[in-house]
Symmetry: C2
Subunit: 196 residues, 2 copies
């Protein structure tokens, strides 16, 4: 009956375990190590040295079987490890949707921040379990772990929105999130050196 | 920067309480009583009599402030009361998305079923807390309370998908869900009279 714009996906049940942080059946997963984050931290020399040594896992993304195809609505769980590189809190690469469409993040465990940037304005939402962060169309978005344990969230996003990681390398994210001396999170202008 | 297709919505934090079944701040809410469900139960005479008498609330829908606008991704919580009309389990009206796009339902409390129909095939997913039911583009969908307590779920859906309720009146949903003598759920062909 429908005029499908993508291969038809069948209805399906996906078991979401918000404590074990799983979607079952599971789709693609990815692991981002420090070596995958070139050019994203303010202190690129420190990032590069960490990548050349222990090359720690910074975050993982596990997806449901719903594909990233136009008109579908896939889901994923991202888990960001606690840590910082020269004080800058560990974070996702961040991306813009080339096909501007909204997205939601639902915080599941740990504490984090949702940084958004539309090229002019910056927005920062503190994420605690139960917080839905709404990312409107046209806002690049990055997640940050602001605590001492893994920070995990469920994402629901239109499958045809796409991921433009180059946008962030070109435009930045407006602000960066650092760990202050008292453990509080400090937001600083994107290119500002600490101590200035 | 972006070329918005709808009035720009600002980034926002929405508090989702899966036990109190609230989204805060709250957007539009609606209440569907038996009088709103004309023509949907097999026993229309029994429905009409119930509407004329106590006219019970069959379900409520509370929404987040994200609008139903193209490219946005709103959310809502639906709560269906337990009950049946001549054995047919209480349910939502059901609808088709005129702009075919996928949707997810996440079961929060109680027990239910997600009935889907693409005009030819029927799909039924048993919904328990933690189950995500995936509704692919082109499948009309209706939720049913199969238990003895309220059944609630979170929906996340593209704001431009739309709601075509007339499609269900015209095409039906393929099957209907009844309460069997032992409390189990029986699915029967849409137009089949009980006892035949």
């Amino acid at each position: 009956m429908p005029d499908f714009h993508a291969l038809p996906i069948q209805p399906q049940a996906i078991q979401f375990d918000s404590e074990r942080l799983t979607l079952t059946p599971e789709g693609p997963t990815l692991t981002r190590r420090m070596s995958d984050l070139a050019g994203l931290f303010l202190d690129e020399a420190a990032r590069s040295a960490a990548a050349a040594n222990e090359n720690p896992v910074v975050y993982t993304v596990t997806s449901s079987p719903v594909p990233e195809a136009d008109r579908e609505l896939p889901q994923s769980i991202t888990t960001i490890m606690p840590g910082n590189t020269s004080g800058e809190l560990w974070m996702t690469k961040g991306h813009q949707h080339p096909n501007h469409q909204g997205e939601i993040y639902l915080a599941l465990s740990g504490t984090g921040g949702l940084l958004m940037f539309d090229g002019e304005q910056t927005s920062w939402i503190e994420m605690r379990p139960g917080t839905i962060g709404y990312i409107p169309p046209g806002w690049a978005h990055r997640s940050v772990n602001t605590g001492d344990e893994p920070y995990a969230f469920l994402a629901v996003y239109p499958g045809g929105a796409g991921h433009d990681y180059g946008w962030v390398l070109e435009h930045g994210m407006g602000k960066r999130a650092f760990r202050g001396p008292d453990g509080a999170t400090l937001l600083r202008p994107y290119a500002e050196q600490p101590g200035t």
